[in-house]
């Protein structure tokens, strides 16, 4: 009895479909190994996407709050200016600060949109494709035989 290791799910599946020689018990064991790995990767993908959703939700919520509060703040500054409570210089200073905040959050919204598109393209794949992408981006995770899929066979090797 031996084992075979595979770098990815589709290779392991291919092996089970066309090359596997072993007992029924080994076959069940191997299919369960593949299924568990598929579930594990699917969960990682779901968590990955959920984290992005949370981060994006925070940015858009913040943008709406900045827009609401910013409008009120501009009104206050202009009222203070018209009523002579602040000088034009002070009003300009406060408006410039508001504009800086606005530009910062506007950039964050744009960046989030890009991040969402990237995150979606990363998870809009099969678990096997996702696993392969991760291996390409983070080879250290899979180096030295780590994170391989090990199946049982009746081979001697």
């Amino acid at each position: 009895m031996g084992t075979r290791t595979f770098a990815n799910l589709d290779e392991a599946e291919q092996f089970m479909e066309s090359e596997f020689i072993g007992t029924e018990r080994q076959k069940h064991f191997n299919l369960d190994v593949i299924e568990q790995e598929r579930k594990r990767i699917s969960k990682i993908m779901t968590d990955h996407h959920a984290q992005t959703e949370t981060r994006i939700g925070r940015v858009t919520d913040f943008a709406f709050r900045i827009a609401d509060e910013g409008e009120g703040r501009v009104d206050e500054v202009m009222d203070d200016l018209r009523d002579g409570r602040i000088s034009a210089r002070e009003a300009a200073k406060q408006l410039a600060a508001a504009k800086r905040d606005l530009n910062r959050i506007a950039k964050e919204v744009t960046d989030s949109q890009t991040a969402e598109e990237r995150a979606w393209s990363e998870v809009n794949r099969t678990p096997s494709e996702y696993r392969r992408d991760v291996a390409r981006r983070f080879p250290a995770l899979f180096s030295g035989g780590r994170n391989q899929i090990t199946l049982s066979t009746s081979d001697d090797d």
Binding site: T46, H49, V77, M78, I105, E116, V123
Partner: protein, 112 residues
């Protein structure tokens, strides 16, 4: 106890309760249908992840509105700057005029 009278002392008449139940069932069906339609329009990954709907455009629109408001306020502040400068100029001219007519007013240590 009569069941044929069509009334209940607990919570309205039987027909009222039936109507409320029908209304609730209709609302639940409507909710399910709305939810189905909402989900139907969304992208779904091979593993069943549903792509979220984000309010990027709405957020950008609101921030754009604020940007226009700030720009308009800045224009108004620029006008205020001009007014303040004109007033300061007028004040300076008045003081210069006073100084020319009565130099002693500008020099408090002067002995008249």
């Amino acid at each position: 106890m009569s069941y044929g009278s069509g009334s209940s002392s607990v919570n309205g008449t039987v027909s009222e309760r039936s109507a409320a139940l029908r209304e609730q069932a209709a609302a639940e069906r409507q909710y399910a249908e709305n939810r189905r339609q909402e989900m139907a329009g969304r992208d779904k990954s091979p593993t069943g992840i549903v792509r979220g709907r984000y309010q990027f455009d709405e957020a950008k629109g609101r921030l754009g509105g604020l940007n226009r408001k700030i720009d308009s306020a800045i224009d108004e502040v620029a006008e205020a700057f001009k007014r303040e400068a004109a007033l300061a100029e007028a004040d300076k001219a008045t003081r210069a005029d006073d100084a020319r007519r009565a130099p002693v007013l500008e020099n408090r240590k002067a002995v008249s």
